[in-house]
């Protein structure tokens, strides 16, 4: 639970970097594939060799606009690229091509809920830039290392930077916002947003101010938060640290701090007063980009329904509880699977129960994600139909689903092969019921003597004789009828 500083209001803004899912890099044809052998996805262009020039990958612009539209942004009619100049071994040209004052997207917003309360965070801008390479230090950091190796596979992968307004008021809000942002970007298909692979990264600016004040306090930038949880933890730590500084009459230093996840604290990196001057200027190698309105509208038309809208529709259209709707829509692929199943088996809540219970459990146990559910929606629908018709019981159905995940076989085939069908044949069951009555004179007498709960024992005997395959409802009915005749 987040501790809230009573006298202080926390103000948080986030800067998020997300790698785009284009096949090729932003200025050349090299692959963006993650995890390839070091320095194999490179060419003279992304290595920034003397004489090479960038040529803009239009897909990267398209994905940036798509991200902007998904975040409710206005799309600029005129945009341009600027050089951000600084020296670092993993930056091959000593400048990162980025966007300074005319980004592709501005003025968006993201809405999300925590415990039924709606929050809104403004998106200041979304701009397109290039990734640098990756430094692999022999020690903890570049200055404390004996040597550093550099992998340029990542250099030139297209990257969007999303900057929020300082609208976030708690560390929990920051985490939930980030989770929602991730869901939106994944829905839009622009980034896979894997924090563990670095395709989604988040830096945070946090400051405290006396509650009721409209001015901002000195802000601290936090870097190196590598999971959603660490974003919340780092901000909680930093919030309390600043609170202590302020309450002991101190002044918060404007600085950049590094989150140490193992130690659970932030450590000062450098003060902002020594901040680099990046000497931004328009990149002379790249003409400005005129963004045609027709193109923007075409991209907008191709956008899928976004998570917030889909969540609402699931509640309205399928009558699902808000909780179900939010779980089912966290991943587009899961929501798609749900809807495709409901289309074949029109009991929305039953489908939701099975997906939230069994399907997610099996995914979790087999280390899969909703992107690779090993069965088709119509296969799940078939299984649910078998359960509904009473061909198999619900518990057997769960076993069958597990087998479907393993072997990919259809439910009906598994039921047939393993002889799992319920015995719902009245004549056949009547014979078994007669046998059970004959073999259990004691309990029968007890029942006839008025102890009607004994019928459960007798049903159990029927199930035992049929190795669990008797339809329990039918067995109960037939037993009652037979016992009535005896009385």
């Amino acid at each position: 639970m987040t501790k809230t500083a009573t006298a202080w209001e926390t103000v948080i803004g986030l800067e998020i970097h997300a790698e785009l899912l284009t096949d090729a890099k932003i200025w050349c044809g090299c692959s963006t594939q993650f995890g390839n052998e070091q320095n194999t996805n490179v060419c003279p262009i992304c290595l920034g060799l003397p004489g090479t020039l960038p040529v803009l990958n239009q897909k990267a612009v398209e994905y940036t606009i798509r991200a902007g539209l998904a975040l409710g942004c206005e799309i600029a009619a005129f945009s341009k690229f600027d050089r951000k100049n600084y020296f670092y071994p993993d930056l091959p040209k000593a400048h990162q091509v980025s966007q300074d004052d005319q980004p592709f997207c501005v003025n968006g917003q993201v809405e999300f809920e925590i415990d039924g309360k709606t929050y809104r965070v403004g998106i200041n801008r979304v701009h397109l830039e290039e990734e640098a390479g990756k430094s692999v230090h022999s020690g903890d950091n570049i200055l404390g290392s004996e040597f550093t190796l550099i992998d340029y596979n990542r250099a030139g992968v297209p990257l969007i930077e999303i900057v929020t307004e300082p609208d976030i008021r708690s560390p929990e809000e920051a985490r939930v916002f980030l989770e929602n942002l991730r869901t939106i970007l994944r829905y839009a298909g622009v980034s896979d947003c894997k924090m563990e692979e670095g395709s989604l990264r988040c830096d945070a600016n946090i400051s405290l101010r006396p509650r009721g004040s409209t001015e901002f306090g000195a802000k601290v930038e936090i870097k190196n938060m590598n999971s959603f949880r660490s974003v919340q933890r780092a901000l909680e730590y930093e919030m309390l640290r600043q609170q202590e500084v302020l309450e002991s009459g101190g002044v918060v230093q404007r600085e950049t701090r590094h989150w140490d996840d193992a130690k659970g604290r932030t450590v000062a990196m450098r003060t902002k007063e020594e901040a680099d001057d990046y000497r931004y200027f328009p990149d002379p190698d790249l003409p400005p980009v005129i963004v045609e309105r027709e193109w923007v509208e075409a991209i907008r038309a191709e956008l899928p329904e976004l998570p917030q809208a889909r969540r609402r529709r699931f509640v309205e259209e399928y009558g699902l509880p808000a909780y179900d709707a939010s779980i089912l829509t966290t991943e587009k692929s899961l929501a798609d699977f749900y809807e495709a199943t409901v289309a074949e088996f029109a009991e929305p809540k039953t489908v939701s129960n099975w997906i939230m219970g069994e399907v997610l459990r099996l995914l979790n146990e087999t280390g899969r994600t909703p992107d690779d559910i090993p069965i088709e929606p119509n296969a799940l629908a078939e299984l649910l139909t078998l359960v509904k018709k009473g061909t198999i019981g619900a518990n057997v159905g769960k076993e069958v689903l597990e087998e479907m995940f393993k072997s990919g076989k259809r439910a009906a085939d598994i039921v047939k092969e393993r002889g799992l069908e319920q015995i719902s044949d009245t004549e056949q069951l009547k014979e078994i019921v007669a046998e059970v009555i004959a073999e259990n004179p004691g309990p029968v007498q007890q029942y006839l003597g008025g102890k009607e709960t004994v019928i459960k024992f007798l049903v159990g005997q029927v199930m035992k004789k049929t190795r669990g395959q008797a339809n329990p409802t039918l067995a109960n009915e037939l037993l009652e009828a037979a016992l009535k005749e005896l009385s």
Binding site: P50, G51, V55, I150, R279, P284
Partner: protein
């Protein structure tokens, strides 16, 4: 006539007629280089083996195919800031002294496709920053007309090579006059095409918004022939323009009676050496004699051109030259300490004084507190200069001006960097406006040094510009003499 004295067009004719083979031609140029280049110092790197191999292939191709490129087998020299796959490309800098590119510049690919053997790489001011080639960190290049004088720059090696017949023609690059000024100093024809006509892919950048690859030739016809090879859209250069390229050679003609020539008042009121002024004015009289009309035009903002140019060019190059940090290629200092110490020492050792001056200037003008007052202001001036030219071209077809205020100066004749920068007075506005311009010889001064005249055209007006240059060249006739170099015995 000896092979090395022939123009590219004459060589092409001889090759077509079967009077000579490409191997013989290429060998003749290496013989000439061996005989005189130790006096001139035009080349940094010779490509003997590959050039002769390319010449053999050219000869085989001529035997095999009916339809061959016009310049098949005619060799060429390249300024050493054009990347050549497998051959070092130094930019005349210690920084890149050992740098071997793994790819060819687009112009180099085009030359190879046209079957033109590449003789070697020519000297230049380090990273193309300079106007005399004295800023080369690797070699001294001398003016073939007077070995005690500079060849001009930054394409001084290419200019000297063509002037001394060490190559039939060459490619240079022009950021603020780096083709036209050395061409004028060395008595040859130098052309900077419209920005975007020739791909810059593989040209090691100085100032990307101003850099343009161009031709350095013995005459205007050769310019047209060579431009035919290198001009055209390249998908690897976002600033290259996708438009149809005419046949510049086929469009050459001598009738200029329908053309109007503009003399910019601001240029002619500048401090021009009287002999240069006389030569240029007499050339203009010849144009009138050919029936052309000559009018006065105005380029009111051109007086700010030098200031704007040095702000923009330096700003861009301070960024472009950032990549030389010793990490991936180029000079790496052998120092103890962290990576940032290595950066500092590598750059301090690898760059020469003029490069450092411009990096400092460029860094200064781009600082966030200075950007608005310097860089942005200079960009505004640049737009005004471009507009001046547009308005001038409403009154004329071609602008005529000196290429340089004086002839080539002696070594160490200009020691003040600001004075050296001021040499580009007549050439810099053209780069700022992105226009095509050509400089051609219009006579010799009393010391026997060549004088250059410059013609400037509107954007993509190369056809008319070359027609005007060709007509004027025919009217002026060849220079009364050519550079005389002492040739070693075995020739």
């Amino acid at each position: 006539m000896k092979i090395h004295e022939m123009s590219a067009r004459e060589l092409a004719s001889a090759l077509t007629a079967g009077e000579v083979s490409a191997v013989e031609v290429t060998q003749a140029f290496f013989d000439r280089i061996d005989a005189v280049d130790d006096q001139v110092g035009a080349y940094l790197t010779l490509m003997r083996e590959t050039a002769l191999q390319q010449a053999e292939e050219a000869d085989a191709r001529r035997k095999r195919d009916d339809d061959v490129p016009p310049l098949l087998g005619v060799p060429i020299a390249l300024k050493d800031n054009l990347c050549t796959n497998g051959v070092r490309t130094t930019c005349a800098s210690k920084m890149l002294e050992q740098f071997v590119p793994p790819y060819d510049a687009t112009v180099v690919t085009r030359l190879k496709e046209a079957g033109m053997p590449i003789l070697g790489k020519t000297n230049m001011d380090e990273f193309a920053l300079g106007s005399s080639t004295e800023y080369s960190a690797l070699k001294k290049t001398r003016n073939p007309w007077n070995l005690e004088r500079v060849p001009g720059g930054s394409s001084g090696g290419s200019a000297a090579a063509v002037s001394a017949s060490l190559a039939p023609f060459a490619l240079g690059t022009d950021t603020g006059g780096s083709i036209r000024q050395p061409a004028a100093y060395c008595g040859i024809v130098g052309m900077k095409p419209t920005y975007g006509l020739v791909s810059r892919f593989g040209l090691v950048a100085a100032a990307p918004s101003l850099d343009q690859i161009g031709t350095m030739t013995k005459d205007v016809a050769d310019t047209a022939l060579l431009l035919n090879v290198i001009a055209g859209y390249d998908p690897y250069d976002s600033t290259s323009v996708n438009r149809e390229v005419p046949d510049y050679f086929a469009s050459l003609e001598t009738d200029v009676s329908t053309l109007r020539f503009g003399m910019p008042a601001e240029f002619f009121s500048a401090d021009i050496h009287p002999e240069v002024r006389t030569a240029v004015e007499s050339a203009i009289k010849r144009l009138e004699a050919l029936g052309a009309e000559v009018v006065e035009v105005n380029l009111p903002h051109s007086t700010y051109a030098l200031s704007a140019y040095y702000v923009i060019a330096s700003g861009e190059l301070s960024s472009s030259l950032g990549r030389y940090d010793g990490v991936r290629y180029g000079h790496r200092a052998d120092v103890e300490g962290d990576v940032f110490t290595m950066f500092r020492h590598s750059r301090s050792e690898g760059f020469g004084p003029e490069v450092k001056r411009r990096i400092l200037l460029g860094t200064y003008v781009l600082l966030s507190g200075n950007y608005r007052d310097y860089y942005l202001q200079a960009m505004k001036v640049r737009a005004l200069i471009a507009k001046d030219f547009e308005q001038a071209f409403e009154q004329c077809d071609v602008i005529v001006a000196p290429a340089a205020a004086n002839v080539a100066f002696p070594f160490d004749g200009v020691v003040d960097p600001a004075e050296m920068h001021a040499l580009d007075l007549f050439t810099v506005p053209v780069n700022l406006a992105g226009l095509p311009a050509i400089s051609l010889p219009c006579g010799l001064n009393s010391e026997g040094m060549p004088i250059g005249l410059q013609l400037i055209g509107p954007a993509f007006g190369e056809v008319q510009l070359l027609q005007a240059a060709y007509a004027l060249e025919q009217e002026i006739g060849p220079l009364p003499k050519q550079p005389q170099l002492e040739v070693k015995s075995n020739d």
